[in-house]
Symmetry: C2
Subunit: 311 residues, 2 copies
């Protein structure tokens, strides 16, 4: 069977593309022609539009982009209807064969972490039955509560062949207030990175990476390259490409010499591609166009940096 | 108007009770007589039962317990239907006049934290309209991303008279792996506590506490007492009383000399009160009985420790 991280990396190799389509969908991202079919004055109408917009973008790129990352905050803000759009988006991407990352950044004490893990990775125990609450292949989690807040996720990764990405070094400016603190010989994020490597030690797949990955901001290229060396079994999810300012050259160091070990998320630049292509009336085509440009940009930078031989 | 933390502490004083009813509802908590009216083999049926069970417990104690804490994980695990039960529970508690803490432990980079804050504290911007996604007075948040992951919540606390509780020192055993690390002269949790005090500096109410509070595990009494001295403007939310093993004596040090500065959550011991009272057929009465015993236990310990004069 292998582990989930193998499946993700196999999909990356098959598509020759380490990109992830981020769906942080906001109603401001809709072209007018699309928006006018919906009642965007209500939570229900906005949520319906978001789910439909996402499906169109998934259809536009699912044959060339191996994974999708769906940011829960932008669905929770539309209430229960938003959570339905969240479910529908995860479910649709999964049915289209993409690896599905539920970007929920959850965490809590062990018993509660067990409930969160059931919600996204495992199964919810019912009376003489069980069910899947939200269909995801990966979740993102926060490490502040230590091992017993992570273990339930790791257990479900083993049982259900799923994966997690633990926040290690985030892409936002003030992440360093906490994460860069010197904790005696190394920073907090390095220490968390070491814990992540340990948590995944039993789930290393045939490509050398475990199903317990790390979120590493693509906006900190030097730290990312150093973490790549420090954590040879930990695959990175790199947010921040595009709108947040990270470049393909900067993130090449987060990949290993074969060109694996990381996937790169872009949200706004893909979702709002139509804004940069005034002549293109079809926003889905614009997203596909920018997705292809992103793949080329990253693969060229990886080839030039000697990180694999990408087509 | 004052700040949200004033409203919470005013309610505590009025009820002469610093307890919080935790609703970490699980179907195993239902007495058979209650459960048999629902189809607990499906997510929808379980979620419906959870919402009803919560309403009965809220009705049972809303005149004597000033606040409720609803743990999102136990709702997310029932999928979209569970999120509807989450909404209904927050909404019902609010309508019953309780202070409502959405225990979601969310956090992310600034733009995404803005969306989370809109979901729970602020308003969701729609096309020429706005709406409230989930009705809460407080949310719990995680500090790992530093100031810009917290600022959106603090902004909404000011605009909408709301509050947050930031994870500082958690009640679980492995919290110390991260939180107790020496970061050069103080531990990480002390440093996070200092940040929390700073984040709330503009939101201090007439009782001397800001609307930016801290989650401090009641399972670590010595650290709690030291934090009380270190952070005189930060109100604590103390989980861990009862089932997690914290005692009233142990948590007295988390209160100030007037007996304020903290609220104490109990979930399982209140929700499953009927299991400890085999003669009582009415589970709501059992919860009320245990809630009164909890109030007496805490107030007695506070009086004995010279932390206010509680009736």
């Amino acid at each position: 069977m292998g582990v989930m991280m193998d499946r993700l990396l196999d999909a990356v190799v098959a598509a020759q593309n380490p990109s992830v389509l981020g769906l942080d969908t906001r109603i401001e991202y809709f072209p007018e022609r699309f928006a006018e079919a919906y009642d965007l004055t209500t939570l229900d109408g906005a949520a319906e539009a978001i789910a439909d917009f996402n499906q169109i973008l998934i259809d536009a790129v699912c044959d060339i982009v191996p994974a999708v990352k769906v940011q829960a905050a932008y669905y929770e803000m539309y209430g229960v209807a938003g959570m339905e759009a969240f479910f529908d988006t995860l479910d649709y991407a999964k049915r289209k064969g993409m690896a599905v990352i539920a970007d929920v950044k959850r965490n809590d004490i062990g018993s509660t972490a067990t409930a969160y893990s059931a919600a996204y990775l495992g199964r919810t125990a019912l009376s003489g039955a069980e069910a899947q609450a939200f269909p995801a292949d990966f979740v993102t989690v926060n490490p502040y509560l230590g091992t017993d807040g992570i273990e339930p996720f790791v257990r479900d990764c083993a049982t259900y062949k799923k994966g997690v990405f633990v926040l290690v070094k985030t892409s936002n400016p003030s992440g360093r207030e906490i994460q860069d603190l010197d904790t005696g010989g190394c920073t907090l994020y390095e220490r968390v990175g070491d814990l992540v490597a340990g948590w995944g030690a039993g789930l290393i797949g045939s490509r050398g990476y475990s199903s317990v990955g790390a979120v590493v901001g693509a906006t900190c290229p030097e730290e990312g390259a150093a973490l790549r060396k420090r954590l040879p079994t930990v695959c990175f999810l790199l947010p921040g490409y595009g709108a947040q300012g990270a470049t393909a050259e900067g993130l090449a160091g987060c990949f290993d010499e074969e060109g694996l070990g990381a996937v790169v998320n872009a949200s706004r630049s893909l979702q709002c591609a139509w804004k940069r292509m005034p002549g293109e009336n079809d926003f889905a085509k614009a997203t596909r166009h920018v997705a292809i440009a992103m793949k080329r940009d990253i693969c060229t930078a990886l080839n030039e940096a000697g990180r694999g031989r990408w087509k």
